[in-house]
Symmetry: C2
């Protein structure tokens, strides 16, 4: 490890995208601090995956933050009364705002990341959002990320002192296939990742939610079997 490496906060969900994002952060020479969230999600098994990924990547520290978002309701991902939509194929997924949208989720997550960055003296935050595959989520768009970065630089001591905080979104314009190809080249172990919105308690992906279908299609496009599919 490069001892003079700059610290960076990386949002780590346990899914394919954030695992790749963490690998990119390391590849760029940063010293990663991983942050995950327990927010009443039905798929809390992903946190076990996040811990395994963080350990494998040898991050400087991994924190899991408990947040109350679930108590507010409003999303199929956190509200057990709502059903996660299932489809036959990824091509059915539209550009409407999906029912699986969690209110202000990335804003809440990035705010915690910003708080930690400030404590660590870090000026770099990595988040694996993707505008192509998830065009229905307003808080995955480049213009949202740019606005958060502007706000963050006005919010913090670092910004006031003239340092520039940057939100890195290396995956934002990549297809799922491109993300997987890059991650494989960086040694990401995708067998450790879980992308399903509605997995079994043991962490078996449902294979029919939007997230599963996008992932399956991504691996198909590069002619590979998903190494997590036998988990």
């Amino acid at each position: 490890m490069n001892l003079s490496a700059k610290p960076a906060v990386v949002l780590l969900s346990g899914g394919l995208d954030s695992a790749t994002c963490l690998a990119i952060c390391k590849e760029q020479g940063f010293k990663p601090y991983a942050i995950s969230f327990r927010y009443g999600q039905r798929h809390a098994i992903e946190l076990t995956k996040a811990s395994a990924i963080a350990k494998q990547a040898n991050v400087s520290k991994h924190v899991i933050i408990n947040i109350d978002l679930g108590a507010m309701g409003g999303s199929a991902l956190t509200d057990v009364r709502m059903e996660v939509p299932k489809h036959e194929s990824a091509s059915e997924i539209g550009t409407d705002i999906p029912i699986t949208y969690v209110p202000a989720r990335n804003t809440v997550f990035l705010s915690y990341a910003l708080a930690w960055a400030e404590v660590l003296g870090a000026l770099d935050i990595f988040i694996g959002v993707n505008a192509l595959d998830y065009s229905g989520y307003p808080d995955c768009r480049p213009e949202y990320i740019a606005a958060f970065e502007t706000m963050a630089n006005l919010a913090t001591k670092a910004g006031v002192l003239g340092n520039q905080l940057k939100i890195h979104v290396p995956l934002i314009h990549m297809t799922k296939a491109e993300i997987i190809r890059l991650g494989l080249s960086l040694g990401v172990d995708y067998s450790q990742t879980l992308s399903c919105y509605d997995p079994s308690e043991l962490g078996v992906a449902c294979g029919n939610c939007d997230s599963c279908l996008l992932r399956i299609r991504g691996f198909e496009q590069i002619g590979m079997l998903d190494p997590a599919s036998s988990n």
Copy 2:
């Protein structure tokens, strides 16, 4: 109560400013939903005050959100190893960023408020930040609030659908004396509020921290005794 009133989320700390802000929100005809935060602050007694204020104001709902900010350290308000600075008089308070600054606090708080607003279908958030008395806090400045509002409108379904979410900061350019005068005219019971950064466990203000001194000076300037001073 006006049954057709629009819902608004109000950040309520239990202090003088947020109690006044809640009264202004009601005065403007909104139906207030109050949100408070338990974030490892030393002065958790303020939450008892917040609950009393919310009840007195007959808010539609009051939620207290547990957040993990304290675990990240970095502020005298949450880190028991750091001492809250004490002064002899308010005139000693400078414009440096104070040690009592909590990393990204207003960003984290406003993010939760935004999430709740989205669930409630509310387009209005009230926060009692003040740029005059607290010029050392970067996230109390008008340019910060404007940037948060811009970001929020890109983050959420409401913004995407063309509705305009507004962050109301009615106190931002007011002096403490002006805030108190306005609050009194709206019937705010300041005996219920606590503004101290370092109160006793029973909620007795220290009288020497920045926040106490600003409050004492505010009441002095309008020729009144602080009704909470005998608490």
